[in-house]
């Protein structure tokens, strides 16, 4: 049987890859996709715990995370479209007018 | 420690079932093209293919050979990887949903149970929806990767249409799921056996879901026609509007794969319609054991064939919707109607169970 630590290790690796992409990438849509990657890593952790502790609440938490991620993706992409209309660029280094 | 003989038997049976189903499906798709050309031709008072073989029955073979020998043209600026991936994706996803369709009653042979279904999932219908949602990618990626105006517009319009009608499709089915109480396709069909009894008297009406969910069936079938991009919802592929839509820049085998994917989707949707609303494999069963095992499969195929004929009949008869009419119909009419259907069904089910 696969031990819990292996599932959690996969979750952590995916999460850290998401963090790395979030920090290093310049394209705003790719950054957004790395956020979704992080959310998925968290979902995996929830469902793994749900199985190993025999509690169905973990799966429901993952369910709500998916639903909230959907709402967030919709609004976030709408914001990105509005940003693109104003700056004609998808590079976050071009959105620095409020930086000191 | 090896695999037990029971597991080995199941594995072997699954391989054989998959091979048979794939073979039958591919032949059905080939002859569906022949049937479509013949039926549409006769509706339009002409003959259709009649030269290649008797009544043009070898026409699909000739078409296959033609597709194999055609030159495979790839546009210059097309994105190679995605251009290759899109028809492959569309094709394989179209064939994937057949895996959960039950074709008939199982039978027992030598102590082993043999079901006419490749995989009996207890979330069977959600699996079909999942594969349908993934099917949108084939079309939108095809439209984008061809690097051509017509393809991009056709691809975007077609994907927007598919995801809009996916909602209506899902809602239409919820009423049936409430009545059957299960998501497994086999159990939904098994719940439709026998006849309707009205206060104890046997009306010899089959216990099919169509009689309690007529609105659900109409919504489902309309949404299914829109999902499969068929007339009257085939604007994204209309020749007069968008040249070829998302498959404009595709040629030979890749184009044939899109074609086959469309027909496979039609077959899947018709199979689902018979399973959900028309009692699946239920029909008069008589005779010796072998006949009893095969007759349900025959009834199932007959019902699916009726739906496919109806699809082709619509193609020969109806004009196509304009795109804004199509989207307005899906969002402003079918979606509220589906929600009302769910409301009414849940009220009746709750009242009857109280």
């Amino acid at each position: 049987m696969v031990p819990l630590s292996h599932y959690l290790a996969l979750s952590v690796i995916l999460f850290v890859l998401g963090v790395a992409g979030f920090i290093f990438r310049r394209n705003i849509i790719t950054i957004f996709m790395c956020i979704e990657l992080m959310l998925n890593a968290v979902n995996l952790a929830f469902i793994a715990f749900s199985r190993f502790w025999g509690n169905l609440d973990g799966q429901l938490s993952a369910f709500f995370v998916i639903v909230v991620a959907a709402a967030e993706a919709a609004v976030g992409l709408a914001i990105i479209i509005a940003l693109y209309r104003n700056r004609q660029s998808l590079n976050i280094e071009d959105f620095d007018s409020m930086k000191w | 420690m090896g695999i037990s003989s029971e597991a080995g038997f199941i594995l072997l049976a699954t391989f054989i079932k998959t091979a048979v189903v794939l073979l039958v499906l591919l032949t059905t798709i080939a002859y569906l093209t022949w049937l479509e050309r013949k039926v549409v031709a006769h509706i339009q008072a002409r003959w259709g293919p009649y030269l290649v073989g008797p009544h043009g029955l070898l026409q699909p073979l000739a078409d296959g050979v033609k597709f194999l020998f055609k030159e495979d043209i790839v546009p210059l600026e097309a994105d190679r990887i995605v251009y290759w991936l899109a028809p492959f994706l569309a094709f394989s996803l179209a064939f994937l949903s057949i895996a959960v369709i039950p074709f008939g009653e199982g039978f027992t042979l030598g102590g082993h149970r043999f079901e006419f279904q490749i995989a009996d999932l207890n979330v069977g219908i959600l699996f079909v929806f999942a594969v349908t949602s993934l099917g949108v990618y084939g079309i939108s990626l095809a439209g984008w990767s061809s690097n051509s105006k017509y393809s991009l517009f056709g691809g975007l319009r077609s994907s927007a249409q598919m995801i809009s009608y996916e909602l209506a499709l899902g809602l239409a089915v919820v009423g049936t799921l409430m009545i059957s109480g299960t998501l497994s396709l086999r159990q939904i069909v098994e719940g439709q056996s026998g006849f309707w009894h009205l206060s104890g008297i046997n009306t010899y009406l089959p216990h099919w879901n169509i009689f309690v969910q007529p609105v659900g069936f109409l919504i489902y079938f309309t949404a299914a026609v829109a999902e499969t991009n068929r007339v009257p919802f085939d604007l994204p592929e209309g020749e007069t509007e968008l040249v070829g839509g998302f498959h404009t820049e595709y040629s030979s085998m890749k184009f044939a794969m899109f074609f086959m994917a469309e027909y496979a989707n039609m077959i899947t949707v018709s199979c689902l319609a018979t399973i959900l609303f028309f009692g699946g494999w239920h029909g008069p069963v008589f005779g010796p054991a072998l006949l009893r095992a095969l007759l349900p499969v025959f009834w199932f195929c007959l019902k699916v064939f009726c739906f496919l004929f109806f699809y082709i009949w619509m193609r020969g008869t109806l004009p196509r919707f304009r795109y804004d009419q199509l989207m307005a119909f899906g969002w402003k009419f079918l979606l509220p109607l589906g929600l009302l259907n769910i409301l009414a069904t849940s009220l009746v089910v709750a009242w009857l169970n109280a």
Binding site: V2, L17, M33, I47, S50, F52, G54, V67, I81 | A130
Partner: protein, 163 residues
């Protein structure tokens, strides 16, 4: 059966690496879809069949379609490399690896058992989830529907053209 988990895990990690490495957003999106489907298989292996199918229908089949639409509409081409500080890039990679190592060690210390689940497999089908969802979690469910309504309104308003 365990080999399937390791295959899917390797696939998910490779695809996630591809998401953060690819310069073209469409390839990143396609790799993210592969990650989502690999995770759906892992959920199936964990006995969460309903969540696996919901993951494919909602995440891979709806949210990622939205991403791909936006990428195609905005015609996001290849990304140009950063013109800012080089120091940040040279410092960033080792720090990320340090983060990874730190959390992995913490997990290994906390959950050292190498056995399987202590609890037997339980029914995680749609009926069980439905019971839980509409009894214990009915308030979060209703709040989530309001949240989705707000998100729809927000997205429509934000993405509308100035007329």
């Amino acid at each position: 059966m365990e080999i399937l988990f390791y295959i899917c895990a390797a696939l998910a990690v490779l695809a996630a690496l591809n998401v953060i490495v690819q310069r073209t957003p469409v390839y990143s999106a396609l790799s993210l879809i592969v990650v989502l489907c690999a995770l759906a298989v892992v959920y199936l292996l964990l006995g969460a069949e309903f969540m696996a199918v919901i993951q494919v229908i909602v995440y891979a089949g709806a949210i990622m379609v939205l991403f791909i639409f936006v990428i195609m509409l905005l015609n996001a081409g290849r990304e140009i490399p950063s013109q800012r500080s080089r120091l940040a890039q040279w410092l960033g990679a080792p720090l990320v690896l340090a983060l990874l190592a730190e959390v992995l060690v913490a997990i290994w210390r906390q959950f050292p058992d190498t056995g399987g689940p202590a609890v037997a497999a339980f029914d995680a089908g749609p009926e069980a989830i439905g019971h839980l969802l509409f009894r214990n979690y009915v308030l979060p469910f209703e709040v989530t529907s309001v949240l989705i309504l707000v998100a729809i309104l927000g997205a429509v308003v934000l993405a509308r053209k100035e007329s």
